[in-house]
């Protein structure tokens, strides 16, 4: 009887030791991982900082102007290229009976193109 209890106790002790040390090493591994991740984060933050400086340098207006002129053929906007909505001509009133439909009316209102008359879409 006692022998069985002893055996049981020994087995329990062994099992507990295994579990205990298993947990302890797991925690150690995790802590090591945490430290290396934190170090990695610091490195990334420093790299981001350097990249911010690089981005600012690449966005130097002097540099962008030269590149825009050379490769895109762009120049600064002139006021003549700007408009406002209230400066647009009014839209002509919609009349269902107009031959050719509303598009023809707009063309006529814009002055010039004679509308192409279509005989309806359904026949």
């Amino acid at each position: 009887m006692i022998r069985q209890t002893t055996l049981l106790a020994v087995i329990l002790a062994a099992a507990l030791s295994v579990i205990l040390f298993g947990v302890k090493y797991q925690v150690q591994d995790l802590e090591g991982e945490l430290t290396s991740i934190e170090r990695g984060i610091l490195n990334e933050e420093r790299a981001i900082h350097v990249l911010h400086a690089e981005w600012a340098h690449l966005n130097d207006p002097k540099r962008l102007r030269v590149l825009a002129e050379r490769y895109l053929g762009l120049a600064p906007i002139a006021p003549i290229q700007l408009g406002r909505f209230d400066a647009l001509p009014d839209r002509p009133a919609f009349d269902e009976n107009q031959e050719g439909g509303p598009r023809a009316m707009s063309l006529a209102a814009a002055g010039g193109a004679t509308p192409v008359v279509s005989h309806g879409s359904t026949r």
Partner: protein
């Protein structure tokens, strides 16, 4: 005895324990011992039970009661040694980048001569004698080369010379180079600010908690610099200053001083390039001051908008004669005095205002004291010690008083924004913060000034500042500079101060050119209308779309004809301009 300890050899299996029967004292002792062992075993079993329960609880169950400790000390983020400086849109203007510098510890160096030779294979521009001296000389710390490139660092490391060490530090880098040189300033090798914003906010930057946001817009800064540079180059000028201010907050959106330097390399800091002409230089601004004379006169009520003075004959005071550059030789109304930039008219206007009132108004415009702008390089205005009648007259057209371009731009902002003067600042104004402004002229006077300034650009000396589609107002200034107490004719300060859009002004743009020379295209004239006004016009043309200012007129595609103004036309135009301003102001509310 033998009966008690009978051994039944056949009944017992090998693994069974032998039963021993004892009596008496021996049994008692054994019992005691056995009990003690049982108690100890029970205690141990209890301890193991507790341990195993706790273990199971910690590993298997979630809410094990482990304290949730946030480890602040180890999870701080990386920060550079010095905080960034940014513009109002968050663009990085100055930043600290990690860098590596090389130094030698002579005590560890084995053979200085061969070490020097090998080192010079990587850094060929090192002086041989100098390096040998540093590698062998006394002391334990001699800088060899600072701010190495990563490639150089790798190669030197690979040489494997004992006694050479790297030190990691931060180096201040300005990604936009010359564009905002005077404003940002410089740091020295130890990371201490020695000029500009770097010096003024040294404590804040070394705190490195958060970046410093300036009011500058780097896009406008680049535009102003480019246009000012073009004007300075075209007219072979000694230098210049350019400013853009927000009239409703006093924020400085652009501040340029030429000639400038590259803050990334201290070699470019030669001669007087470090001098900030926009804030530290004080100059007699000339005719731009007539705006203030007119504003004072209208605000104080000494003259009405359709009043005027006789400008037919020059004024003689003591040894001086006051005359006009382009004399009209007739009676001029107040608008005409500004349009034709008449010194005689301005002087007479100032005499009516009086010295005391003039001085008081100039004080309210901030012209008598150094500005409280957040820079170390701020110039103190030169004002006359005794304010006599002759001073009043010359100050009316901008001579006899010297102020910095920032003084002028800030005061013109107060003229056009409804009469409130805001202190100029280079820090970004966060929306929601209260604005501290002082009412220096009435709103009605401000409206009249807007109309007058618009007339100067439409019909007067500021015609070259016109931009198709936009309503711009301003004033030219052409002033001779003094050398040894005498005015030199060809040493001019040519300037133009403009504001737009005139129906509801948002920005003041000022360009000052120092010592321009006339060229063939401008018929050898180098005044404000020829040199500075076109630059301001181009600046406004380029910055308006960026700042979201839409053109007022869409249909106007050509410049208006150059008609000679008569009195009637002028007043009608002025009244129309004032009415428009009033309408637009009312419509925008």
């Amino acid at each position: 005895m033998s009966d008690d300890s009978q051994l039944c050899l056949t009944d017992r299996k090998p693994w069974e324990t032998r039963r021993v029967h004892l009596d008496g004292v021996r049994k008692q002792a054994l019992e005691t011992g056995r009990n003690r062992v049982v108690v100890t075993a029970a205690v141990f079993a209890l301890a193991f039970a507790v341990v195993s329960t706790r273990l199971v609880g910690l590993t298997v169950m979630d809410q094990a009661g482990e304290p949730q400790v946030v480890r602040h000390s180890e999870t701080r983020s990386w920060t550079a040694e010095r905080a960034d400086i940014r513009d109002r849109n968050g663009v990085v203007l100055a930043t600290s980048l990690p860098t590596v510098s090389l130094y030698a510890d002579p005590r560890e160096v084995l053979d200085p001569i061969s070490a020097a030779a090998r080192l010079r294979t990587v850094l060929p521009d090192l002086d041989r004698q100098d390096v040998i001296a540093k590698l062998s000389g006394p002391g334990r710390f001699n800088w060899i080369r600072r701010n190495l490139t990563p490639t150089q660092q790798y190669d030197i490391n690979r040489l494997g010379i004992p006694g050479l060490q790297f030190q990691h530090s931060d180096r201040r880098v300005y990604p936009h180079g010359r564009t905002a040189a005077h404003l940002l300033g410089l740091t020295d090798l130890d990371g201490l600010g020695i000029a500009g914003v770097e010096q003024a906010f040294d404590d804040h930057l070394r705190d490195r908690v958060k970046p410093l946001n300036l009011s500058i817009d780097i896009r406008l800064q680049a535009i102003v610099r480019q246009e000012l540079m073009a004007a300075v180059d075209e007219f072979r000028a000694a230098g210049g200053a350019g400013l853009v201010l927000d009239v409703n907050t006093g924020e400085t959106l652009a501040m340029v001083s030429l000639p400038d330097f590259d803050p990334n390399s201290a070699d470019t800091l030669q001669g007087d390039v470090g001098f900030n002409r926009a804030t530290k230089g004080v100059y007699e601004m000339g005719s731009t001051f007539k705006l203030f004379t007119a504003a004072m006169a209208l605000d104080a009520g000494t003259v009405a908008i359709d009043g005027g003075y006789d400008a037919s004959k020059p004024i003689r005071v003591a040894r001086f004669t006051i005359h006009d550059s382009h004399p009209e030789n007739r009676w001029l109304s107040v608008p005409e005095i500004l349009i034709h930039s008449s010194n005689i008219g301005a002087a007479k206007m100032a005499l009516d205002i009086g010295s005391e009132t003039q001085r008081r108004y100039l004080g309210r415009f901030g012209m008598l004291n150094a500005l409280p702008v957040e820079l170390p390089e701020v110039g103190r205005p030169l004002v006359p010690a005794h304010w006599r009648e002759i001073n009043t007259m010359t100050i009316s057209y901008g001579h006899g008083i010297a102020v910095s371009p920032l003084h002028l731009a800030s005061a013109v902002g107060a003229l056009v924004n409804g009469g409130i003067r805001y202190s100029p600042t280079i820090l970004k104004h966060e929306a929601g913060n209260p604005m501290a402004g002082e009412q220096v002229i009435s709103q009605a006077t401000s409206r009249k000034m807007r109309g007058l300034m618009e007339l100067v650009v439409q019909q007067g000396t500021g015609k070259n500042a016109r931009v198709a589609g936009y309503r711009i107002g301003g004033k030219t200034g052409t002033a001779e500079q003094q050398v040894d107490g005498r005015y030199v004719r060809k040493k001019l300060i040519s300037s133009f101060v403009g504001a737009f859009p005139m129906e509801n002004p948002r920005y003041v743009v000022l360009a000052v050119v120092d010592e321009p020379h006339g060229i063939k295209r401008t018929f050898n004239y180098a005044g404000g209308g020829w040199v500075a006004a076109p630059a301001v016009g181009r600046i406004i043309e380029r910055m308006a779309p960026l700042m979201g200012v839409a053109p007022t007129f869409i249909e106007e595609r050509t410049k208006p004809k150059n008609t000679k103004p008569t009195r009637g036309t002028l007043l009608v135009a002025l009244r129309a301009a004032i009415d428009d301003a009033r309408e637009a102001r009312g419509a925008s509310r």
